[in-house]
Amino acid sequence: MELTVLGQSQTTAPAAGGCASSGCGSNDDQLNHLPEHIRAKVHNHPCYSEEAHHHYARMHVAVAPACNIQCHYCNRKYDCSNESRPGVVSELLTPDQAVKKVMTVAANIPQMTVLGIAGPGDPLANPERTFDTFRQLTEKAPDIKLCVSTNGLALPELVDELCKHNIDHVTMTINCVDPDIGAQIYPWIFWKNRRVYGRKGAEILIKQQQKGLQMLVDRGILVKVNSVMIPGVNDKHLEEVSKAVKAKGAFLHNVMPLIAEAEHGTFYGVMGQRGPTHDELQELQDACSGDMNMMRHCRQCRADAVGMLGEDRGDEFTMDKIEAVDVDYAAAMVKRAEVHAAIEATLAAKQQKKNETFISLSSLSIPKKESRPVLMAIATSGGGIINQHFGHAREFLIYEANAHDVRFISHRKTDLYCSGDDTCGDGESVLQKTINALKGCEVVLCSKIGYEPWGMLEEAGIMPNGEHAMEAIEDAVAAVYKEMGEKGLLDKKPETKQRATA
Protein backbone atom coordinates (compact mmCIF):
# COMPACT_ATOMS: atom_id res chain seq x y z
CA MET A 1 0.00 0.00 0.00
CA GLU A 2 1.05 3.55 -0.48
CA LEU A 3 0.25 5.61 2.52
CA THR A 4 2.23 8.79 2.68
CA VAL A 5 5.28 8.90 4.85
CA LEU A 6 5.34 11.42 7.64
CA GLY A 7 7.44 14.43 6.93
CA GLN A 8 7.60 13.81 3.22
CA SER A 9 4.32 15.03 2.01
CA GLN A 10 2.37 18.20 1.86
CA THR A 11 0.01 16.75 4.41
CA THR A 12 2.41 17.64 7.16
CA ALA A 13 2.67 21.24 6.09
CA PRO A 14 0.31 22.91 8.49
CA ALA A 15 -0.82 25.60 6.10
CA ALA A 16 -1.88 23.30 3.27
CA GLY A 17 -5.56 22.76 2.84
CA GLY A 18 -8.52 22.02 0.68
CA CYS A 19 -9.89 25.50 0.98
CA ALA A 20 -7.05 27.83 1.43
CA SER A 21 -8.70 31.14 1.70
CA SER A 22 -6.99 32.97 4.45
CA GLY A 23 -10.03 35.13 4.37
CA CYS A 24 -12.76 32.73 5.35
CA GLY A 25 -13.53 34.46 8.57
CA SER A 26 -10.89 37.10 8.15
CA ASN A 27 -13.64 39.63 8.40
CA ASP A 28 -13.08 39.04 12.06
CA ASP A 29 -13.40 35.41 12.91
CA GLN A 30 -17.04 34.61 13.47
CA LEU A 31 -16.07 32.96 16.74
CA ASN A 32 -14.46 36.04 18.21
CA HIS A 33 -17.45 37.00 20.29
CA LEU A 34 -17.83 33.56 21.83
CA PRO A 35 -16.78 32.97 25.43
CA GLU A 36 -13.25 31.69 25.87
CA HIS A 37 -14.24 28.17 26.97
CA ILE A 38 -16.29 27.68 23.82
CA ARG A 39 -13.57 29.01 21.56
CA ALA A 40 -11.17 26.60 23.21
CA LYS A 41 -13.46 23.77 22.19
CA VAL A 42 -13.83 24.76 18.56
CA HIS A 43 -10.52 26.36 17.62
CA ASN A 44 -9.22 23.14 16.06
CA HIS A 45 -12.48 21.78 14.69
CA PRO A 46 -12.63 22.36 10.93
CA CYS A 47 -16.41 22.07 10.76
CA TYR A 48 -17.03 24.56 13.55
CA SER A 49 -14.38 27.19 13.03
CA GLU A 50 -13.73 28.87 9.71
CA GLU A 51 -10.18 29.60 10.74
CA ALA A 52 -9.56 25.98 11.75
CA HIS A 53 -10.73 24.58 8.45
CA HIS A 54 -7.68 25.99 6.67
CA HIS A 55 -5.37 24.07 8.95
CA TYR A 56 -7.07 21.06 10.52
CA ALA A 57 -8.61 18.03 8.92
CA ARG A 58 -11.55 15.81 9.78
CA MET A 59 -12.72 12.38 8.89
CA HIS A 60 -15.98 10.49 8.96
CA VAL A 61 -16.32 6.76 9.43
CA ALA A 62 -19.31 5.04 7.94
CA VAL A 63 -20.34 2.70 10.73
CA ALA A 64 -23.98 3.73 11.00
CA PRO A 65 -26.06 2.42 8.10
CA ALA A 66 -29.55 2.29 9.59
CA CYS A 67 -31.88 5.25 9.76
CA ASN A 68 -34.97 5.88 11.83
CA ILE A 69 -36.54 8.50 9.57
CA GLN A 70 -36.92 9.15 5.86
CA CYS A 71 -36.00 12.53 4.42
CA HIS A 72 -37.18 13.38 0.93
CA TYR A 73 -33.66 14.50 0.00
CA CYS A 74 -32.07 11.21 0.93
CA ASN A 75 -31.87 7.93 -0.93
CA ARG A 76 -30.98 4.97 1.26
CA LYS A 77 -29.09 3.34 -1.60
CA TYR A 78 -25.91 5.13 -0.86
CA ASP A 79 -22.88 3.57 -2.46
CA CYS A 80 -22.11 5.78 -5.47
CA SER A 81 -18.39 6.49 -5.41
CA ASN A 82 -18.76 9.44 -7.78
CA GLU A 83 -21.08 11.43 -5.61
CA SER A 84 -20.00 13.76 -2.90
CA ARG A 85 -22.87 14.57 -0.61
CA PRO A 86 -24.09 13.60 2.85
CA GLY A 87 -25.47 10.11 3.20
CA VAL A 88 -23.20 8.65 0.55
CA VAL A 89 -20.38 6.19 1.29
CA SER A 90 -18.40 3.57 -0.59
CA GLU A 91 -17.62 1.14 2.16
CA LEU A 92 -19.52 0.32 5.32
CA LEU A 93 -17.23 -0.39 8.29
CA THR A 94 -17.55 -2.42 11.46
CA PRO A 95 -16.56 -0.54 14.63
CA ASP A 96 -13.24 -2.46 14.76
CA GLN A 97 -12.45 -1.56 11.15
CA ALA A 98 -13.42 2.05 11.80
CA VAL A 99 -11.06 2.28 14.77
CA LYS A 100 -8.20 0.88 12.69
CA LYS A 101 -8.97 3.33 9.90
CA VAL A 102 -9.11 6.32 12.23
CA MET A 103 -5.77 5.47 13.82
CA THR A 104 -4.14 4.91 10.44
CA VAL A 105 -5.42 8.21 9.10
CA ALA A 106 -4.42 10.02 12.31
CA ALA A 107 -0.88 8.71 11.92
CA ASN A 108 -0.71 9.76 8.26
CA ILE A 109 -2.63 13.04 8.40
CA PRO A 110 -1.52 14.47 11.73
CA GLN A 111 -3.68 17.58 11.23
CA MET A 112 -6.72 15.32 11.57
CA THR A 113 -8.18 16.38 14.90
CA VAL A 114 -11.79 15.31 14.62
CA LEU A 115 -13.55 12.05 13.96
CA GLY A 116 -17.21 12.27 13.14
CA ILE A 117 -19.87 9.65 12.70
CA ALA A 118 -22.41 10.99 10.30
CA GLY A 119 -24.05 8.00 8.76
CA PRO A 120 -24.73 6.98 6.10
CA GLY A 121 -27.89 6.55 8.19
CA ASP A 122 -28.33 8.13 11.60
CA PRO A 123 -25.58 7.40 14.15
CA LEU A 124 -28.07 7.24 16.99
CA ALA A 125 -30.24 4.77 15.11
CA ASN A 126 -27.17 2.50 15.33
CA PRO A 127 -26.26 3.06 18.97
CA GLU A 128 -24.24 -0.12 19.46
CA ARG A 129 -22.03 0.41 16.43
CA THR A 130 -21.61 4.14 17.09
CA PHE A 131 -20.85 3.85 20.80
CA ASP A 132 -18.53 0.86 20.34
CA THR A 133 -16.48 2.99 17.94
CA PHE A 134 -16.45 5.92 20.35
CA ARG A 135 -15.59 3.74 23.33
CA GLN A 136 -12.56 2.24 21.61
CA LEU A 137 -11.32 5.56 20.27
CA THR A 138 -11.70 7.37 23.59
CA GLU A 139 -9.36 4.76 25.02
CA LYS A 140 -6.91 4.22 22.17
CA ALA A 141 -6.68 7.67 20.60
CA PRO A 142 -7.41 10.22 23.31
CA ASP A 143 -6.03 13.08 21.19
CA ILE A 144 -8.87 12.79 18.70
CA LYS A 145 -12.10 14.65 19.34
CA LEU A 146 -15.25 12.78 18.57
CA CYS A 147 -18.43 14.18 17.17
CA VAL A 148 -21.68 12.99 15.82
CA SER A 149 -24.31 14.25 13.45
CA THR A 150 -27.91 13.24 14.06
CA ASN A 151 -31.50 13.93 13.11
CA GLY A 152 -32.23 14.05 16.84
CA LEU A 153 -35.08 11.56 17.00
CA ALA A 154 -33.24 9.18 19.37
CA LEU A 155 -31.19 11.89 21.05
CA PRO A 156 -33.12 12.37 24.32
CA GLU A 157 -32.87 8.69 25.28
CA LEU A 158 -29.17 8.45 24.32
CA VAL A 159 -27.82 11.81 25.42
CA ASP A 160 -26.31 10.51 28.66
CA GLU A 161 -24.57 7.60 26.93
CA LEU A 162 -23.29 10.05 24.32
CA CYS A 163 -21.84 12.37 26.95
CA LYS A 164 -19.70 9.58 28.40
CA HIS A 165 -17.36 9.79 25.42
CA ASN A 166 -14.78 12.32 24.32
CA ILE A 167 -17.46 14.48 22.73
CA ASP A 168 -17.56 18.26 22.78
CA HIS A 169 -19.82 18.83 19.80
CA VAL A 170 -22.94 17.49 18.22
CA THR A 171 -24.47 18.47 14.91
CA MET A 172 -28.23 18.22 14.56
CA THR A 173 -30.12 18.53 11.33
CA ILE A 174 -33.19 20.63 12.00
CA ASN A 175 -35.12 21.62 8.91
CA CYS A 176 -38.26 22.94 10.56
CA VAL A 177 -40.06 23.66 13.80
CA ASP A 178 -43.50 23.48 12.17
CA PRO A 179 -44.98 20.00 11.63
CA ASP A 180 -46.92 21.09 8.54
CA ILE A 181 -43.64 21.96 6.89
CA GLY A 182 -42.06 18.83 8.36
CA ALA A 183 -44.70 16.69 6.68
CA GLN A 184 -43.44 17.93 3.31
CA ILE A 185 -39.86 16.90 4.16
CA TYR A 186 -40.27 13.71 6.22
CA PRO A 187 -42.76 11.17 4.88
CA TRP A 188 -42.31 8.91 7.91
CA ILE A 189 -40.37 8.21 11.09
CA PHE A 190 -39.86 4.97 13.02
CA TRP A 191 -41.02 5.59 16.55
CA LYS A 192 -41.66 3.18 19.42
CA ASN A 193 -41.71 0.16 17.12
CA ARG A 194 -44.13 1.68 14.62
CA ARG A 195 -43.86 3.64 11.44
CA VAL A 196 -45.53 7.02 11.95
CA TYR A 197 -46.42 8.94 8.81
CA GLY A 198 -46.76 12.54 7.70
CA ARG A 199 -47.58 15.38 10.04
CA LYS A 200 -47.85 13.15 13.09
CA GLY A 201 -44.37 11.78 12.51
CA ALA A 202 -42.94 15.23 11.88
CA GLU A 203 -44.50 16.50 15.09
CA ILE A 204 -42.77 13.79 17.14
CA LEU A 205 -39.46 14.39 15.36
CA ILE A 206 -39.58 18.14 16.01
CA LYS A 207 -40.40 17.60 19.69
CA GLN A 208 -37.54 15.15 20.10
CA GLN A 209 -35.13 17.49 18.30
CA GLN A 210 -35.98 20.46 20.48
CA LYS A 211 -35.82 18.33 23.62
CA GLY A 212 -32.50 16.80 22.56
CA LEU A 213 -31.04 20.19 21.74
CA GLN A 214 -31.98 21.47 25.17
CA MET A 215 -30.49 18.41 26.88
CA LEU A 216 -27.19 18.79 25.03
CA VAL A 217 -26.94 22.47 25.86
CA ASP A 218 -27.73 21.72 29.50
CA ARG A 219 -24.82 19.26 29.53
CA GLY A 220 -22.40 21.79 28.10
CA ILE A 221 -22.14 20.19 24.66
CA LEU A 222 -21.74 22.59 21.75
CA VAL A 223 -24.49 22.16 19.21
CA LYS A 224 -24.31 23.14 15.57
CA VAL A 225 -27.59 23.05 13.72
CA ASN A 226 -27.66 22.11 10.05
CA SER A 227 -30.66 23.06 7.93
CA VAL A 228 -31.27 22.08 4.35
CA MET A 229 -32.76 24.95 2.37
CA ILE A 230 -35.59 23.61 0.20
CA PRO A 231 -37.18 26.29 -2.00
CA GLY A 232 -40.93 26.45 -1.65
CA VAL A 233 -40.87 24.20 1.41
CA ASN A 234 -38.84 25.64 4.27
CA ASP A 235 -36.96 28.58 2.71
CA LYS A 236 -39.25 31.18 4.28
CA HIS A 237 -39.33 29.22 7.53
CA LEU A 238 -35.61 28.85 8.25
CA GLU A 239 -35.25 32.31 9.76
CA GLU A 240 -37.73 31.18 12.41
CA VAL A 241 -35.75 27.96 12.87
CA SER A 242 -32.60 30.00 13.30
CA LYS A 243 -34.23 32.08 16.03
CA ALA A 244 -35.67 29.02 17.76
CA VAL A 245 -32.43 27.05 17.90
CA LYS A 246 -30.45 30.06 19.00
CA ALA A 247 -32.92 30.66 21.82
CA LYS A 248 -32.34 27.07 22.91
CA GLY A 249 -28.58 27.62 22.94
CA ALA A 250 -27.23 26.25 19.65
CA PHE A 251 -24.04 28.16 18.91
CA LEU A 252 -23.82 27.87 15.14
CA HIS A 253 -26.35 27.56 12.35
CA ASN A 254 -25.40 26.13 8.99
CA VAL A 255 -27.88 26.63 6.16
CA MET A 256 -27.00 24.26 3.34
CA PRO A 257 -28.46 24.12 -0.14
CA LEU A 258 -30.66 21.18 -1.09
CA ILE A 259 -28.84 18.79 -3.39
CA ALA A 260 -31.43 17.17 -5.65
CA GLU A 261 -30.65 15.51 -8.96
CA ALA A 262 -32.81 12.90 -10.63
CA GLU A 263 -29.84 10.54 -10.89
CA HIS A 264 -29.43 10.49 -7.12
CA GLY A 265 -32.75 8.70 -6.91
CA THR A 266 -34.04 10.80 -4.03
CA PHE A 267 -37.73 11.69 -3.87
CA TYR A 268 -36.96 15.37 -4.42
CA GLY A 269 -34.53 14.56 -7.21
CA VAL A 270 -36.97 12.33 -9.04
CA MET A 271 -39.85 14.75 -8.56
CA GLY A 272 -37.87 17.70 -9.89
CA GLN A 273 -37.69 19.71 -6.67
CA ARG A 274 -35.10 22.41 -7.35
CA GLY A 275 -32.30 23.48 -5.08
CA PRO A 276 -31.77 27.15 -4.19
CA THR A 277 -29.76 29.45 -6.43
CA HIS A 278 -26.52 30.85 -5.03
CA ASP A 279 -28.29 34.18 -4.54
CA GLU A 280 -31.22 32.66 -2.69
CA LEU A 281 -28.88 30.73 -0.41
CA GLN A 282 -26.75 33.75 0.32
CA GLU A 283 -29.77 35.94 0.97
CA LEU A 284 -31.12 33.44 3.49
CA GLN A 285 -27.72 33.04 5.14
CA ASP A 286 -27.48 36.80 5.44
CA ALA A 287 -31.00 37.02 6.86
CA CYS A 288 -30.24 34.33 9.44
CA SER A 289 -26.89 35.81 10.37
CA GLY A 290 -28.70 38.63 12.12
CA ASP A 291 -29.89 36.04 14.58
CA MET A 292 -26.81 33.94 15.11
CA ASN A 293 -23.51 32.77 13.82
CA MET A 294 -23.79 31.53 10.30
CA MET A 295 -21.39 29.08 8.87
CA ARG A 296 -20.44 29.46 5.24
CA HIS A 297 -17.55 27.10 4.76
CA CYS A 298 -19.49 23.83 4.98
CA ARG A 299 -18.74 21.46 2.11
CA GLN A 300 -21.55 18.95 2.74
CA CYS A 301 -19.15 16.04 3.07
CA ARG A 302 -19.81 12.41 2.41
CA ALA A 303 -20.33 10.16 5.41
CA ASP A 304 -16.88 8.64 4.77
CA ALA A 305 -14.89 11.75 3.83
CA VAL A 306 -11.21 12.00 4.85
CA GLY A 307 -8.96 15.06 4.86
CA MET A 308 -9.31 18.82 4.85
CA LEU A 309 -12.76 20.22 4.10
CA GLY A 310 -13.09 20.46 0.37
CA GLU A 311 -10.91 17.46 -0.27
CA ASP A 312 -11.56 13.77 0.08
CA ARG A 313 -8.67 11.38 0.47
CA GLY A 314 -10.88 8.43 1.27
CA ASP A 315 -9.42 6.45 -1.64
CA GLU A 316 -6.03 6.41 0.07
CA PHE A 317 -7.51 4.73 3.13
CA THR A 318 -9.73 1.93 1.93
CA MET A 319 -9.96 -1.11 4.21
CA ASP A 320 -7.84 -3.32 1.96
CA LYS A 321 -5.01 -0.80 2.29
CA ILE A 322 -5.50 -0.22 5.99
CA GLU A 323 -5.62 -3.83 7.06
CA ALA A 324 -2.01 -4.24 5.92
CA VAL A 325 -0.74 -1.41 8.11
CA ASP A 326 0.56 -1.57 11.66
CA VAL A 327 0.16 1.75 13.45
CA ASP A 328 2.45 2.78 16.29
CA TYR A 329 -0.04 5.17 17.81
CA ALA A 330 2.17 6.25 20.70
CA ALA A 331 4.74 7.51 18.20
CA ALA A 332 2.01 9.03 16.06
CA MET A 333 0.65 10.97 19.04
CA VAL A 334 4.04 12.59 19.60
CA LYS A 335 4.24 13.60 15.95
CA ARG A 336 0.66 14.81 15.99
CA ALA A 337 1.27 16.97 19.03
CA GLU A 338 4.23 18.59 17.23
CA VAL A 339 2.17 19.30 14.14
CA HIS A 340 -0.69 20.73 16.20
CA ALA A 341 1.74 22.97 18.07
CA ALA A 342 3.13 24.23 14.76
CA ILE A 343 -0.38 25.01 13.52
CA GLU A 344 -1.19 26.85 16.73
CA ALA A 345 2.01 28.88 16.37
CA THR A 346 1.08 29.77 12.78
CA LEU A 347 -2.38 30.82 13.89
CA ALA A 348 -1.06 32.89 16.76
CA ALA A 349 1.37 34.67 14.44
CA LYS A 350 -1.40 35.31 11.97
CA GLN A 351 -3.66 36.69 14.66
CA GLN A 352 -0.92 38.98 15.84
CA LYS A 353 -0.26 40.23 12.35
CA LYS A 354 -3.95 40.84 11.86
CA ASN A 355 -4.09 42.88 15.04
CA GLU A 356 -1.12 44.94 13.94
CA THR A 357 -2.02 45.55 10.33
CA PHE A 358 -5.72 45.75 9.91
CA ILE A 359 -6.27 46.42 6.25
CA SER A 360 -9.47 48.12 5.37
CA LEU A 361 -10.52 49.19 1.95
CA SER A 362 -11.20 52.67 3.16
CA SER A 363 -7.46 53.03 3.64
CA LEU A 364 -7.07 52.33 -0.05
CA SER A 365 -8.91 55.56 -0.82
CA ILE A 366 -11.93 54.08 -2.49
CA PRO A 367 -14.41 56.80 -3.35
CA LYS A 368 -16.69 56.83 -0.32
CA LYS A 369 -19.90 57.40 -2.22
CA GLU A 370 -22.29 54.49 -2.29
CA SER A 371 -20.35 52.10 -4.46
CA ARG A 372 -22.15 48.81 -4.94
CA PRO A 373 -20.79 45.49 -3.71
CA VAL A 374 -19.17 43.11 -6.21
CA LEU A 375 -18.80 39.34 -6.07
CA MET A 376 -15.52 37.86 -7.27
CA ALA A 377 -14.60 34.21 -7.76
CA ILE A 378 -11.12 33.01 -6.82
CA ALA A 379 -9.22 29.98 -8.12
CA THR A 380 -6.83 28.81 -5.44
CA SER A 381 -5.15 25.58 -4.49
CA GLY A 382 -4.10 26.72 -1.07
CA GLY A 383 -2.33 29.17 1.16
CA GLY A 384 -4.73 32.07 0.76
CA ILE A 385 -3.15 32.93 -2.57
CA ILE A 386 -4.46 33.17 -6.15
CA ASN A 387 -2.44 30.29 -7.49
CA GLN A 388 -4.67 28.06 -9.58
CA HIS A 389 -5.31 27.79 -13.30
CA PHE A 390 -8.95 28.50 -14.12
CA GLY A 391 -9.36 25.16 -15.82
CA HIS A 392 -7.95 23.22 -12.89
CA ALA A 393 -10.25 24.70 -10.27
CA ARG A 394 -12.84 22.27 -8.93
CA GLU A 395 -14.23 24.90 -6.65
CA PHE A 396 -14.06 28.68 -6.48
CA LEU A 397 -14.04 30.79 -3.36
CA ILE A 398 -16.50 33.64 -3.61
CA TYR A 399 -15.60 36.97 -2.03
CA GLU A 400 -17.64 40.11 -1.76
CA ALA A 401 -15.95 43.49 -1.94
CA ASN A 402 -17.79 46.61 -0.92
CA ALA A 403 -16.78 50.12 0.05
CA HIS A 404 -15.73 49.01 3.51
CA ASP A 405 -14.20 45.57 3.38
CA VAL A 406 -13.62 42.28 1.65
CA ARG A 407 -15.34 39.20 3.01
CA PHE A 408 -15.53 35.51 2.24
CA ILE A 409 -19.05 34.54 1.21
CA SER A 410 -19.02 30.94 0.10
CA HIS A 411 -17.40 28.33 -2.07
CA ARG A 412 -18.95 27.06 -5.26
CA LYS A 413 -18.17 23.72 -6.81
CA THR A 414 -17.72 23.48 -10.54
CA ASP A 415 -18.62 19.82 -10.86
CA LEU A 416 -21.73 20.04 -8.79
CA TYR A 417 -21.63 17.09 -6.41
CA CYS A 418 -20.82 14.55 -9.07
CA SER A 419 -17.61 13.81 -10.88
CA GLY A 420 -19.00 10.87 -12.76
CA ASP A 421 -18.80 10.31 -16.49
CA ASP A 422 -20.97 11.93 -19.16
CA THR A 423 -23.93 9.73 -18.35
CA CYS A 424 -23.99 11.28 -14.90
CA GLY A 425 -25.47 14.66 -15.85
CA ASP A 426 -27.29 16.35 -18.66
CA GLY A 427 -24.44 16.58 -21.11
CA GLU A 428 -23.77 20.25 -20.45
CA SER A 429 -20.13 21.07 -21.10
CA VAL A 430 -17.88 21.34 -18.09
CA LEU A 431 -17.03 24.90 -19.02
CA GLN A 432 -20.66 25.92 -19.32
CA LYS A 433 -21.33 24.31 -15.93
CA THR A 434 -18.49 26.27 -14.41
CA ILE A 435 -19.79 29.50 -15.87
CA ASN A 436 -23.26 28.75 -14.54
CA ALA A 437 -21.75 28.08 -11.13
CA LEU A 438 -20.17 31.55 -11.18
CA LYS A 439 -23.45 33.32 -11.86
CA GLY A 440 -23.61 36.64 -10.05
CA CYS A 441 -19.84 37.09 -9.97
CA GLU A 442 -18.37 39.90 -12.04
CA VAL A 443 -14.71 38.94 -11.86
CA VAL A 444 -12.75 35.69 -11.79
CA LEU A 445 -9.25 35.86 -10.37
CA CYS A 446 -6.95 32.99 -11.29
CA SER A 447 -3.28 32.37 -12.03
CA LYS A 448 -3.88 31.65 -15.71
CA ILE A 449 -6.75 31.07 -18.08
CA GLY A 450 -7.15 29.69 -21.59
CA TYR A 451 -8.40 31.56 -24.65
CA GLU A 452 -11.74 29.75 -24.99
CA PRO A 453 -12.91 30.11 -21.40
CA TRP A 454 -11.81 33.75 -21.44
CA GLY A 455 -14.16 34.47 -24.32
CA MET A 456 -17.04 32.54 -22.82
CA LEU A 457 -16.65 34.22 -19.44
CA GLU A 458 -16.64 37.65 -21.04
CA GLU A 459 -19.70 36.69 -23.03
CA ALA A 460 -21.41 35.80 -19.75
CA GLY A 461 -20.51 39.15 -18.22
CA ILE A 462 -17.75 37.79 -15.97
CA MET A 463 -14.33 39.43 -16.32
CA PRO A 464 -11.40 37.01 -16.17
CA ASN A 465 -8.28 38.40 -14.54
CA GLY A 466 -4.88 36.71 -14.32
CA GLU A 467 -2.93 39.81 -13.35
CA HIS A 468 -2.95 39.04 -9.65
CA ALA A 469 -1.42 35.58 -9.82
CA MET A 470 0.42 34.63 -6.64
CA GLU A 471 -1.00 37.54 -4.69
CA ALA A 472 -2.91 37.24 -1.43
CA ILE A 473 -6.63 36.88 -2.10
CA GLU A 474 -7.97 39.76 -0.03
CA ASP A 475 -5.36 42.19 -1.30
CA ALA A 476 -6.06 41.27 -4.91
CA VAL A 477 -9.84 41.50 -4.47
CA ALA A 478 -9.42 44.91 -2.85
CA ALA A 479 -7.14 46.07 -5.66
CA VAL A 480 -9.51 44.92 -8.39
CA TYR A 481 -12.43 46.58 -6.62
CA LYS A 482 -10.45 49.78 -6.48
CA GLU A 483 -9.67 49.57 -10.20
CA MET A 484 -13.34 49.04 -10.92
CA GLY A 485 -14.13 52.12 -8.87
CA GLU A 486 -11.62 54.18 -10.80
CA LYS A 487 -13.16 53.05 -14.07
CA GLY A 488 -16.57 54.12 -12.81
CA LEU A 489 -17.88 50.57 -12.84
CA LEU A 490 -19.19 50.67 -9.31
CA ASP A 491 -21.77 53.43 -9.67
CA LYS A 492 -24.24 51.61 -11.82
CA LYS A 493 -25.83 48.21 -11.81
CA PRO A 494 -23.73 45.60 -13.58
CA GLU A 495 -24.60 45.31 -17.25
CA THR A 496 -26.99 42.44 -17.59
CA LYS A 497 -25.52 41.06 -20.73
CA GLN A 498 -27.60 38.72 -22.75
CA ARG A 499 -26.28 35.29 -21.90
CA ALA A 500 -24.93 33.28 -24.75
CA THR A 501 -27.59 30.93 -25.96
CA ALA A 502 -24.98 28.31 -26.77
Binding site: P65, A66, C67, N68, Q70, R76, K77, Y78, L92, G121, A125, N126, E128, P187, W188, F190, N193, R194, R195, Y197, G198, P231, G232, V233, F267, Y268, M271, G272, Q273, R274
Partner: protein, 92 residues
Amino acid sequence: MALQIVDGCVNCWACEPLCPSKAIYAAIPHFLIDAKKCTECDGDYADKQCASICPVEQVIVDSQGEALNPPGSLTGIPPERWEQVRAEIQAR
Protein backbone atom coordinates in the same frame (compact mmCIF):
# COMPACT_ATOMS: atom_id res chain seq x y z
CA MET B 1 -45.87 -18.00 8.05
CA ALA B 2 -42.82 -15.93 7.30
CA LEU B 3 -41.84 -12.69 5.67
CA GLN B 4 -39.25 -12.42 2.94
CA ILE B 5 -36.76 -9.79 1.80
CA VAL B 6 -36.64 -9.59 -1.99
CA ASP B 7 -34.67 -7.78 -4.66
CA GLY B 8 -34.46 -4.02 -4.04
CA CYS B 9 -33.08 -4.30 -0.50
CA VAL B 10 -30.33 -1.70 -0.08
CA ASN B 11 -28.59 -3.47 2.82
CA CYS B 12 -29.12 -0.60 5.22
CA TRP B 13 -29.18 -2.86 8.30
CA ALA B 14 -32.18 -1.06 9.82
CA CYS B 15 -34.33 -4.19 10.15
CA GLU B 16 -31.69 -6.57 11.48
CA PRO B 17 -31.44 -5.40 15.12
CA LEU B 18 -35.22 -4.95 15.39
CA CYS B 19 -36.22 -8.54 14.67
CA PRO B 20 -37.54 -10.13 17.89
CA SER B 21 -36.77 -13.60 16.53
CA LYS B 22 -33.29 -12.84 15.22
CA ALA B 23 -34.44 -14.20 11.90
CA ILE B 24 -32.74 -11.55 9.74
CA TYR B 25 -29.17 -12.03 8.56
CA ALA B 26 -26.72 -10.30 6.24
CA ALA B 27 -26.21 -12.08 2.94
CA ILE B 28 -25.17 -11.36 -0.62
CA PRO B 29 -26.62 -9.66 -2.61
CA HIS B 30 -28.95 -8.58 0.20
CA PHE B 31 -30.26 -9.36 3.69
CA LEU B 32 -32.48 -12.41 4.08
CA ILE B 33 -35.06 -13.70 6.56
CA ASP B 34 -34.78 -17.20 7.95
CA ALA B 35 -38.27 -18.57 7.31
CA LYS B 36 -37.90 -21.10 10.12
CA LYS B 37 -37.33 -18.36 12.68
CA CYS B 38 -39.66 -15.60 11.42
CA THR B 39 -42.88 -15.30 13.42
CA GLU B 40 -44.07 -12.13 11.65
CA CYS B 41 -43.62 -10.57 15.11
CA ASP B 42 -46.68 -12.43 16.36
CA GLY B 43 -46.89 -12.00 20.11
CA ASP B 44 -44.07 -9.46 20.22
CA TYR B 45 -45.26 -6.38 18.34
CA ALA B 46 -48.44 -5.13 16.80
CA ASP B 47 -46.55 -4.11 13.64
CA LYS B 48 -44.11 -6.28 11.75
CA GLN B 49 -40.82 -4.66 12.71
CA CYS B 50 -38.76 -5.16 9.56
CA ALA B 51 -41.58 -3.82 7.42
CA SER B 52 -42.05 -0.85 9.74
CA ILE B 53 -38.54 0.51 9.26
CA CYS B 54 -37.63 -0.72 5.76
CA PRO B 55 -37.00 2.42 3.66
CA VAL B 56 -37.74 0.79 0.30
CA GLU B 57 -41.20 0.00 -1.02
CA GLN B 58 -42.06 -3.57 -2.09
CA VAL B 59 -38.95 -5.16 -0.59
CA ILE B 60 -40.60 -6.99 2.32
CA VAL B 61 -43.28 -9.41 1.20
CA ASP B 62 -45.52 -11.90 2.98
CA SER B 63 -45.84 -15.62 2.22
CA GLN B 64 -48.27 -14.75 -0.59
CA GLY B 65 -45.67 -12.48 -2.14
CA GLU B 66 -47.77 -9.42 -1.25
CA ALA B 67 -45.70 -6.30 -0.49
CA LEU B 68 -46.13 -4.99 3.04
CA ASN B 69 -45.08 -1.55 1.83
CA PRO B 70 -46.88 -1.21 -1.52
CA PRO B 71 -46.04 1.50 -4.07
CA GLY B 72 -46.77 4.97 -2.74
CA SER B 73 -46.99 3.87 0.88
CA LEU B 74 -43.60 5.24 1.92
CA THR B 75 -43.50 8.42 -0.13
CA GLY B 76 -47.07 9.15 0.93
CA ILE B 77 -47.94 9.72 -2.73
CA PRO B 78 -50.13 7.05 -4.34
CA PRO B 79 -49.01 6.29 -7.92
CA GLU B 80 -52.12 7.87 -9.47
CA ARG B 81 -51.28 11.24 -7.88
CA TRP B 82 -47.59 11.08 -8.84
CA GLU B 83 -47.81 13.30 -11.94
CA GLN B 84 -49.90 15.94 -10.22
CA VAL B 85 -47.55 16.11 -7.23
CA ARG B 86 -44.55 16.24 -9.54
CA ALA B 87 -46.05 19.25 -11.31
CA GLU B 88 -46.70 20.95 -7.97
CA ILE B 89 -43.18 20.33 -6.78
CA GLN B 90 -41.64 21.53 -10.02
CA ALA B 91 -43.55 24.80 -9.72
CA ARG B 92 -41.70 25.62 -6.48
